[in-house]
């Protein structure tokens, strides 16, 4: 992390500060924005879209992935659709959503979710295919009921993949959210970035990028990592 800041500082010396400001100047600009109270509404709106988009993407992506993992027919039929979904650029989803559903919050969240859902589906699909059927046979020998098998044998095996795809999906969703805000929302980090880009104020552009990155890292370190550590405490440590 320190190295990244140093590299940034060194690179910024190659261009004039109004085009490529260094870390100190960017931090100062960001601080000014935070103190001035210009940050919170936009940040909150972006966060809302990210969280809602992620939830909706999981709601769409997980069941389809599970179905594809369990059922050969479904796998054959849906395979192509998932690939199509994955291939269509996120900008197209955003445009379609805004044109069809109007320039509103719902359309934004739908566009975000639809973009992220296919990669979540693929992750879950792989996960379900990797389920250890020997453990399922074991549970059946012990007369476990179907719901019990799903809850106590299948879910713990699929959960790591859900976690992985949530993290992976989050990475995609950050990016698409900014794009969606840029083309169709009157606030949010993406809107601000575009606003300052049009005013050619690179200090502000980088300040907002920095803010965004810091928030993302905080979520990763303070929320996702601890959850993962707690849930996977049983796993052996791998020493290489």
């Amino acid at each position: 992390m320190v190295a990244a800041v140093i590299v940034w500082g060194v690179l910024s010396l190659t261009l004039p500060p109004e085009i490529f400001p260094g870390p100190i100047e960017t931090a100062r600009t960001l601080w000014g924005e935070i103190v001035g109270g210009n940050v919170w509404t936009d940040l909150a709106m972006t966060m809302l879209r990210v969280v809602a988009g992620l939830l909706l993407a999981l709601i769409l992506g997980v069941p389809v992935g599970v179905l594809m993992g369990l059922n050969r027919r479904a796998e054959a039929v849906l395979d192509v659709w998932v690939m199509i979904g994955l291939t269509v650029p996120s900008l197209c989803y955003a445009i379609m959503a805004f044109i069809w559903f109007g320039l509103n919050e719902g359309a934004a969240i739908i566009a975000i979710a639809v973009t992220a859902a296919p990669s979540i589906t693929i992750n879950i699909w792989e996960g379900v295919k990797n389920v250890d059927t020997k453990l399922v046979a074991m549970a059946r020998v012990f007369e476990a009921t179907r719901p019990a098998i799903v809850r106590r044998v299948l879910m713990p095996q699929i959960f790591p993949y859900v976690m992985a795809s949530a993290r992976f999906g989050l990475g995609i969703i950050w990016k698409i959210t900014v794009l969606v805000e840029l083309i169709g929302r009157p606030n949010g980090v993406g809107f601000k970035l575009f606003y300052w880009y049009q005013l050619a104020d690179m200090r502000q552009v980088l300040a907002w990028t920095l803010l965004f990155t810091i928030i993302m890292l905080l979520i990763e370190l303070l929320i996702l990592k601890p959850i993962e550590r707690r849930v996977f405490a049983w796993r052996p440590q791998v020493a290489v």
């Binding site: 020997k134 046979a137 020998v141 012990f142 007369e143 713990p156 052996p236």
Partner: protein
Amino acid sequence: MNSVIEVASLRKTFKGRDGTSRTVLKDLDLTVGAGEFLCILGPSGCGKSTLLNVLAGLDKVYEGRASVSGGRVGYLFQEPRLLPWLTAEANLDFALASCRVPTSRWSELKSRYLAMTGLSDHRDFYPHQISGGMAQRLALVRALCVEPGILLMDEPFSGLDEITARRIRSDLLAIWRETRKTIVFVTHNAYEACFLADRILVMSGGAFRHEMRVPIARPRSYDDPAIFQFSRDVIKAFGDEIGREQVPSVLAESESSLVDDLDRHAAARMNI
């Protein structure tokens, strides 16, 4: 002796993708008496595991009749098949809960069988923290603590090192003596079969070829030359069917006193 397992004209056919079918069980007839220790001896691919799956109710598509009475069925797989995210004790709880054993009895059952297998101090360990032998013991405890009337065992010790396997085999016989469960034990190891069983059925190509009683008094000792002698006879008589190789003449001539016990065992094993 009343029988607890009755199989008549059991046939099982697998259909291949190309439309060809392969019959892995060919009209099997089998009766197992209550409290009997039966070993089914045969090479891999002879249909032993398929038969166990039918008896365990895992495989319900077959022709003929297969009825199992005399209580719940316990199953010990070739691998421990423990749930890796649960501790040893929680794995037992999973089995007890699945079989709907009243919770009031759990602690007594767990303590009893954990003590019998020497695992009392390992309740809180995760499966990856204990050795392969211990994991298989724990799987044995799990199979026993739901109090099955019948225990089906599918080459449960073949993945273990020989010393560990010997110890668990002896434990198993002690437990069997105490609890008198009906056991159907599948193996490709003639020595193991002769040490454990009352009766051995030699299986190959999906059918039982021979049946014999093991004429060795219990309690048996693993080093008993009589077991070695008998296993050698079994291999000599049925070696062609249960394995490709014949008994090498060197082994046939060497007397038990000359050969180290483990080597003997390994030699007996090799021929199957």
